[in-house]
């Protein structure tokens, strides 16, 4: 009798919890970081992106100069929130640009993206598009960022992960508490980079252990890491999106592309099923992929344009494969297991 009551009360508890969850998720829309409207035309294009407005401004301005009838509503959110907006809330956006390749791939794989015009896709290299649904707009190397005083005098920058491990091991006092990297548990991009690292190199786990011993600080975003390194609070950032770093000259920051391999992130775009003006979204995307749009992305915004030759010139660059292999990383159990491993390596008792 008591047992029955207990079961009922447990069920009641879970029922309430479920209700609370439902209310919470339906009530809470995805989190927006910034919003801006460009132009004042009749044709409205809703763009949802993980890319900061400042980076996209030159391209948007150029597009609006050509299409004065367009109002471009640009919304910035984190990659997880971008995914939630499209996959769970079916938010009506006409173009979705995200640096989280795996989440974009999941949107496309799960049938939530519209086919893009064939003419737009046919010009893109095979590694930069998937199934006529997903296309890369930039390719961004994931780099090692060194602060002004990162290196002891007379020591040259590391060129491989092995050399980086040696550097950190040889100067534990110098780097203790001064190493920055993504927290894969929080950051989608960080998790993606860590998984790719673990696949590509045995040195990664040793690096994780070494960084763990040095009380590495974990970040949610590239911007925070870059800011702390630029201001000297941190000496070294591992797996930083190089495109956000201000460059070699400013603040004495040094960008190092490790020679054993350097992951290259593809920032991808898709038109979701819920789009109100999918043609307009695809048209803006076509401009983004055009030679002029790419030049504006590269020069105006400082994001590296798509460049297939870059992989020939720099054999150490490895584009992260844009295919359903990315889905494996998103599996909840796989992800949980990987993060457990990561924590075990990084946080030593």
């Amino acid at each position: 009798m008591r047992r029955l009551f207990a079961a009922a009360s447990v069920r009641l508890f879970f029922g309430a919890l479920w209700l609370a969850l439902v209310v919470a998720t339906t009530a809470r829309a995805f989190e927006i970081e910034a919003v801006e409207d460009f132009g004042s035309g009749a044709q409205r294009i809703d763009v949802l992106s993980t890319t900061d407005i400042a980076y996209m401004q030159p391209v948007i301005d150029a597009y609006l100069a050509r299409h004065p009838d367009v109002t471009l509503h640009y919304v910035v959110a984190s990659s997880q929130e971008v995914y939630r907006a499209v996959a769970e809330e079916d938010a009506p956006f006409d173009l979705v640009i995200s640096s989280a390749m795996d989440l974009q791939m999941k949107i496309a794989n799960d049938g939530l993206a519209r086919p893009l015009p064939a003419a737009l896709m046919s010009g893109q290299p095979g590694w930069a598009r998937w199934r006529g649904l997903l296309v890369a707009v930039t390719q961004e190397p994931v780099v090692l960022l060194l602060g002004r005083d990162a290196l002891p005098p007379g020591v040259s920058p590391p060129t491989t992960r092995r050399e980086l491990i040696d550097l950190l091991r040889d100067h534990p006092d110098r780097f203790r508490g001064k190493v920055a990297t993504y927290d894969p548990a929080v950051s989608g991009a960080g998790y993606l980079f860590a998984v790719q690292d673990a696949r590509l190199s045995d040195a990664f786990w040793r690096l994780a252990e070494v960084m763990g011993r040095l009380d590495t600080k974990l970040y949610c975003c590239s911007a925070g890491m870059i800011g702390d390194i630029a201001e000297g609070r941190m000496l070294l950032g591992y797996n930083v999106l190089g495109s956000y770093a201000p460059g070699n000259d400013a603040d004495g920051l040094r960008i190092v592309e490790l020679q054993d391999y350097t992951l290259t992130l593809l920032r991808t775009a898709l038109v979701p099923q819920g789009a109100r003006a999918p043609e307009a979204g695809a048209e803006f995307l076509a401009f983004l992929l055009s030679a002029e749009g790419q030049a504006l992305v590269a020069e105006g915004a400082g994001l590296p344009a798509l460049d297939a030759d870059a992989f020939d010139r720099n054999p150490h660059l490895r584009p992260i494969r844009l295919d359903p292999g990315l889905l494996a990383n998103l599996d909840q159990i796989t992800r949980r297991r990987f993060l457990e491993e990561w924590r075990a390596a990084l946080i030593q008792p």
Binding site: A108, N109, D110, G111, W130, R131, V195, R199, R321, D323, P324, G325, L326, L327, A328, N329, D331, Q332, I333, T334, R337
Partner: protein
């Protein structure tokens, strides 16, 4: 005769067209069949290949599921997904159930209707989200908390690549089939023609025969046409029988008329000699002339019947046309000279032909007889026999009354006479006999006005 003219107005059925159509239909069926077979085969083969890969991928996925501290651990192999998706950029869905409860992946992926056996993956087609997918299902046992629990792994992929491969192979087969069909057109034309050529040859053999040739058909024919040939031959035999009966009848009739006519003429002449009464004598002379005319007609009817009969027999022998002409002219000379008509003969060498002497003689007799008959007294009949370009040619020329503008073809018809000959007895069969004799022996006969008045008749036979 009236019945024959009521032929159906529909165009006759063409065997060749029908055969051609059937051959082409066959080729078209084969082409379509080839396309269908290849398409089906390609579908099956590519599905088997893709299933094998999908099954292996599902197997490796199932192997990655194991029990760890705190529950189920899965290390999804990204490379497996990448490879699975590589062909045709397929979409991938998966689902892992433990104890019948979805643990990870797409929890709403459709389950198989029958649970898979533990040994091999089972495959099935399903509709998931907005697309058709092929699913591989693997059932395994997993040990959780000391007991065995069923582990069900579903791995699904879209089959865009497979469809593309099957379509490509199918299209190739379609092109091949079309090629075969196009190649079949000339072959069918050729086959239809060669198949029907015995009929054409038979028709040509029958068509080439002379008008009087009633010999049975001995042309080689395929066994299917033998009944037709036999029927045709029996028809020819019947026709010949009828004809020969008619001709025998004609000959006998002529003979039976001629004998009493001769008797009648003799009696009339006798009476003429004995009678003194002028009126009776005039009547008797008229009677004698009428009897002569009738006898002549009967004789020509006999000639004609003979010509027809012998032409049909086609019993040819080697005949010297020159000698024949010489003998014939000598036989005519006395009768001609009685009317003060001289006959000049000009024969050069020998003219060997393959013919029937009776026919040739009948023909030449009629020509020379005509020339003498229509010549005025003191006239000259010239007979020339010579070899001219491969044929023996006998030319008979007179300075008689000529043809008075009547066309040659008209004169050659039976019982048709010239417009200017009513005072001379004749049956109108003479030229018909000549024409028929010439035709029967492969020769020619022509008659026309002679320059400077008179008539020129030319009878020729091929030389040996």
């Amino acid at each position: 005769m009236a019945q024959q003219s009521v032929t159906p107005s529909l165009s006759p059925v063409s065997l060749r067209r029908r055969l051609l159509l059937q051959l082409l239909l066959l080729a078209a069926c084969l082409s379509v069949g080839l396309y269908a077979a290849v398409r089906l085969g390609a579908d099956r083969a590519s599905e088997a290949t893709f299933d094998a890969v999908l099954g292996a991928a599902a197997g490796s996925l199932a192997e990655e599921v194991r029990v760890a501290e705190g529950g189920i651990a899965v290390d999804l192999p990204p490379a497996t997904f990448s490879m699975l998706s590589a062909m045709g950029e397929e979409r991938i869905f998966y689902r892992v159930d433990v104890d019948g409860v979805p643990v990870t992946g797409y929890g709403d992926l459709p389950l198989p209707e029958l649970p898979p056996t533990a040994l091999a993956p089972s495959f099935y087609d399903a509709r998931y989200r907005d697309t058709d997918v092929r699913v591989a299902a693997i059932l395994r046992s997993i040990r959780i908390e000391g007991r065995a629990a069923p582990l069900l792994v579903l791995l699904a992929e879209t089959r865009q690549g497979q469809g593309a491969i099957a379509a490509r192979l199918g299209n190739r087969a379609a092109v091949l089939g079309l090629g075969i069909f196009l190649a079949a057109i000339p072959f069918s034309l050729y086959f239809a023609r060669s198949f029907l050529s015995p009929i054409d040859r038979l028709a040509e053999a029958v068509g080439r025969r002379g008008a009087r040739d009633l010999r049975p058909l001995r042309h080689p024919a395929p066994s299917e046409l033998q009944p037709f040939v036999t029927a045709l031959n029996s028809f020819i035999a019947r026709l010949r029988g009828t004809l020969s009966q008619t001709e025998t009848f004609l000959a006998e009739a002529a003979h039976h008329i001629r004998t009493p006519l001769t008797v009648m003429r003799n009696e009339a002449e006798l009476a003429l000699r004995q009678s003194g009464e002028e009126e009776t004598r005039a009547r008797l002379r008229g009677l004698i002339r009428a009897a002569d005319e009738s006898a002549r007609s009967a004789s020509q009817l006999l000639d004609h019947a003979t010509v027809l009969y012998r032409a049909e027999q086609a019993d040819w022998a080697e005949v010297d046309l020159a000698k024949l002409v010489r003998d014939l002219v000598e036989r005519f000379r006395p009768a001609a000279e009685m009317r003060d008509i001289s006959v000049r003969l000009e024969v050069r060498g020998t003219l060997p032909t393959r013919s029937d002497p009776v026919l040739v003689e009948a023909a030449l007799r009629n020509i020379i007889d005509n020339a003498v008959k229509y010549s005025a007294p003191d006239g000259l009949v010239e007979v020339v026999a010579e070899a001219v370009s491969g044929e023996g040619r006998v030319t008979v020329m007179d300075r008689g009354r000529g043809l008075a503008g009547v066309v040659e073809q008209g004169l050659k018809r039976r019982f048709r006479r010239g417009a200017n000959v009513s005072d001379v007895p004749g049956s109108g069969l003479g030229l018909t006999i000549v024409e028929e004799a010439a035709q029967a022996m492969g020769g020619r006969f022509a008659i026309g006005p002679r320059e400077g008045g008179g008539t020129c008749a030319v009878f020729s036979l091929p030389l040996l």
